[in-house]
Subunit: 195 residues, 4 copies
Amino acid sequence: MDENTPKDTINAPVRRKRRYDPSRRERIIAVTLEAIELYGITGTSTRKVAEMADVSLGSLTYYFEGINQLIEEAFTQLSLSISNEFRDVLGAAKTREEALIAVVDFIDQKIWGSHSTLTLSFELYTFVTRHPQLKSLPQSWMKQSRAALEQHFTPATARVIDAFVEGIGIHNYFDREPMTRTEIERVIRLIASAE
Amino acid sequence: MDENTPKDTINAPVRRKRRYDPSRRERIIAVTLEAIELYGITGTSTRKVAEMADVSLGSLTYYFEGINQLIEEAFTQLSLSISNEFRDVLGAAKTREEALIAVVDFIDQKIWGSHSTLTLSFELYTFVTRHPQLKSLPQSWMKQSRAALEQHFTPATARVIDAFVEGIGIHNYFDREPMTRTEIERVIRLIASAE
Amino acid sequence: MDENTPKDTINAPVRRKRRYDPSRRERIIAVTLEAIELYGITGTSTRKVAEMADVSLGSLTYYFEGINQLIEEAFTQLSLSISNEFRDVLGAAKTREEALIAVVDFIDQKIWGSHSTLTLSFELYTFVTRHPQLKSLPQSWMKQSRAALEQHFTPATARVIDAFVEGIGIHNYFDREPMTRTEIERVIRLIASAE
Amino acid sequence: MDENTPKDTINAPVRRKRRYDPSRRERIIAVTLEAIELYGITGTSTRKVAEMADVSLGSLTYYFEGINQLIEEAFTQLSLSISNEFRDVLGAAKTREEALIAVVDFIDQKIWGSHSTLTLSFELYTFVTRHPQLKSLPQSWMKQSRAALEQHFTPATARVIDAFVEGIGIHNYFDREPMTRTEIERVIRLIASAE
DNA sequence: GATGAATGAGGGTTCATTCAT
DNA sequence: GATGAATGAACCCTCATTCAT
């Protein structure tokens, strides 16, 4: 009782008493993804997420079964974001030529090539390895990528492009002299030419 | 101690639990890699490694600065193993045709396609993301792969093959209908044909 | 809320999850006793009780001061049930001989010997130890047991029988070879014979 | 490093660094029993035990699988103490008459009648209810009590006395007017007379 | 050189209770 | 009157690391 009574209006203690926060669940998920990007799954604790989301510790287990479910939902969202973005980029292409360029863009810098995306993907792959029930995440992600590519290429070609996107993205991440845009384009054209 | 001490035969050559063991350091590293494969970095603790290596807990910090150094050395060894194996497989190829088949084998089942290798690679990639000083590991690994490939292909082709190996390995790991050997071979031949 | 709201039949008498419920307080108490029997006081939480009673979480602190008051009321009810049952069983006896048999029945299987009753009694005894204001519960329970016995036996005998009932019930609960009905009857007759 | 460096010898920080504490495990068990008596199992936490034993938190899980194993060991010790004490008291009796008096003493005040013992017994009974693997504790305790009694009485009588001891102890604990020593003695003699 | 008992910060989670609606 | 989202202290336990022997 005492601790809630402000001595005077000036020194009133700042007490976080945020009730009614309708988008709380979504914010927690988004913040979790940020935490994973910043600190890795290893460094992502309930306490850190709660603090980053400006939320009490109890909120996490109020909305989620446990930290694993939280991570799963965060990854689900990540997976959706990436594959939707790929779909959008490819979907905007009207001709086969535009599609080719869109793929190159996707690798080169726009999405897949980004530090953030790759970092999160590595975390996801590693996590899926230990939690096989999440295999559906990269699976449906791959499925959607290929569906988007198949609007412009044959299934076989789509598959090869998809795999190349994956591989070159990772290699460029580590490589001190990443493959140039010109070279990427040459490869994509080569693959596409084989249909 | 008591239970291991022979009561009356003073010089009896009793096998102590922790016997004289010159290769202890190496064994700890090897066991750490096993632990990472089995439980992930997250699930690999000093206690578990010590127990698996049949070594005292103190040994770990006696031989290594800390658990991170231990993991780093384990990954260094992993990196060496994989790239050496790739070098050997490629090195055994006498003709360009044999080299092509060797690459297909490498992807298809022998090494890179294995569950164990991919699992460890994901752990490594994730770890490197948080410990940039280890970037040299995948870098020199890539360097050696390409050097091996360059015995039979141009540098540009070597690079593309290398990236494709990476990507298709990962995709096949997640894919419920992995790319067939025939299809893999077709792609490799396609890439090689562009020289 | 959405899923329970009828889309077009405005006045449809949809059964809400939480319907009008006049005996809610009593039900909560009864359910609490069930929870204690199933999970022990340790395993009985407000959430679990609310869920089992199909009642909102807030109801518990709305109807009760706190969980301790809830437990107290549950135990009060338990105490009443058991002692009333004992009173009824004894009250139905018309002769001293029938009373003897009734006591044997009470121990042997009917009430006191039951797993459920003993489980709850242990919980109660333990709880009373930490909340002395509840000592009146076993006290009035004992008082009523003796009053029922005194319809057929002297106070001194009633007391001894009562204590024996307590002791043999507990021992038979743990004993792998419980005391037989014949033997129980022999003891009761022995005690009764001393008047 | 900084925090360990004393600024001067006078203000050297007091750091509990108790290494080598050979009886630590036993002390933790003993302290746990004290904690259970004082606060009940419900109120006995790892933190409280660690503090009471002047031991670090980690020591508890270093020596015990978890808090349940700790409680089990504490109860095992309790069970041993009580039944040994009963054995000793009875064992000191040379004649049947002395044995009778020993039993009365045991109930009346010495051991079983004590607040402490009954409190712990209630906790034990309640705990066993939820952890059936501990049923052997009260079982072997009963077994030993009867063995001690059978030095002076027939098995049937031993069993009845044992049950009566249990029941009267509990009832006297709750009763505002406990059974007098004289009355207890009368009952014991009555039971013994039936052989 | 080698050990393993000891440490304590930090992990995930549960809980009774509060209170704006 | 009744709700349930929100709180934060406290729970048990794991961990890398230290250090007296």
